[in-house]
């Protein structure tokens, strides 16, 4: 097919692998934005989710954030942020902050929900036994609840990461770079090689991220649990 040929040609052209619009730089922008927003989201959402899960207080917050999250489309969130972030900084507020903040908003709820559910789902008998043994609340959280909740926690980060990588593509419509830029430029210039090259790169990055986290999760699972699933 013609599209396959032009896409392969565009991807193979060494000129597209260097310079300010080169694939390494755009890939770097995409990954950097995704990692920064994931880390910032995790720094807020994970401790909050763990604390709510451990104490059982404010659990309505988790439910409502999960619901609100579904009703907040990133396209609208990025757009809605522009008028406010441009007040802070006319340049970065136009090209970077809206996408960055929207990705933090996108990544937060899945991490929050899974941190909460992971800890809240730990067998209460285990927790009571630990308390009876004289473990402090802090010890219970870090030495018992967190290790047991680890697979659920990791699944939350994985789902946030895959969604951020995929959705950061939208940023290109709003002045941000990243791999979405090829799709915008390819669409605008009717350059199918560039358009589909961008689509292939973004899809490959999203699937690689998914595979990366699945592998990490396998390593993280405690040996006892891994043996149980294998048996």
């Amino acid at each position: 097919m013609d599209i396959l040929a032009v896409t392969a040609q565009w991807l193979a052209d060494p000129a597209h692998w260097q310079g300010p619009n080169g694939i390494p730089l755009r890939l770097g922008e995409h990954v950097a934005l995704s990692v920064v927003s994931l880390v910032l989201a995790a720094l807020v959402a994970m401790p909050l989710g763990l604390w709510i899960g451990h104490t059982g207080r404010f659990s309505w917050l988790v439910v409502s954030s999960a619901n609100a999250w579904r009703a907040l489309p990133s396209f609208a969130v990025i757009g809605l942020l522009v008028p406010f972030t441009t007040l802070l900084d006319p340049n970065l507020g136009f090209i970077l902050y809206p996408t960055l903040v929207a990705m933090i908003v996108l990544a937060g709820p899945p991490i929050l929900v899974n941190s909460y559910e992971g800890v809240a789902g730990v067998d209460r008998d285990l927790v009571e036994a630990a308390r009876g043994m004289g473990m402090s609340e802090r010890q219970i959280l870090f030495a018992l609840e967190m290790p047991v909740a680890l697979p659920v926690l990791a699944a939350g980060i994985r789902s946030a990461a895959v969604q951020v990588i995929a959705t950061a593509t939208l940023g290109a419509t709003f002045g941000f770079g990243g791999l979405g830029r090829y799709i915008v430029l390819g669409d605008a210039n009717r350059d199918n090689g560039q358009l589909f090259g961008g689509v292939v790169l973004v899809a490959a990055l999203a699937l690689t991220t998914l595979a990366f986290f699945v592998l990490i999760e396998r390593r993280l699972a405690s040996p006892g649990l891994a043996a149980r699933t294998a048996g």
Partner: protein
Amino acid sequence: MNSEPLVRWDWIGAHLGPILERGGQHLYLAVIAVTIGFAISFGLAALSIRRRRLYPFVTLLATAVYTIPSFAMFAALVVVSGLSIFTAEIPLVVYTFILFVPNIVAGFDAVPQDVLDAADGMGYTSAQRWWQVELPLSVPLVVAGLRLATVSTIGLVTVSAILGDRFGGLGYYILDGYHRHFPTEILVGGLLSIGLAVLADLGFVLLRRLLTPWATARAAAR
């Protein structure tokens, strides 16, 4: 831009007609996608229930499709199907699979075996059992799937604005406002599309109450 107020109410007042029209288009695009997506998903779910071994493949496929960014899929389809309604609807439809299929399968799985046996014992034919027992009892989870898919689709319709001013529903105002540095337009498009999603969600909660009167009665009796 600083001297101008954040919201120009006069602009909104002068554009009420077009705003309503865009809102209508937004709903229209979403309803088509959810309806077709539901029909296909129901078929996929029915197949998965009959042939259990197929279920993991169906889920894997739906997940893989969901991983492709909507923005990329819209742009890529322009080359294949031009600026037609298909280009807007195909991505919206295929993204609903991962939200519908697991919920429909779980909905039918949740019908207790005892109830099915009782229906058989009472002499229901398999068609009667399906319509009068299985379908009504699967409603809560099926409606949960409908809520998810509708809210997510209403959000994704905004992205179809990149296909030009014939698409995108209220998303058109987000993109146009951004290009023109006009906050009022962005706020109108963004807030109304979020509002539409919330309203649709509430609508389904109401629908579930109407379809499963026994659940409400039980909660009240408690």
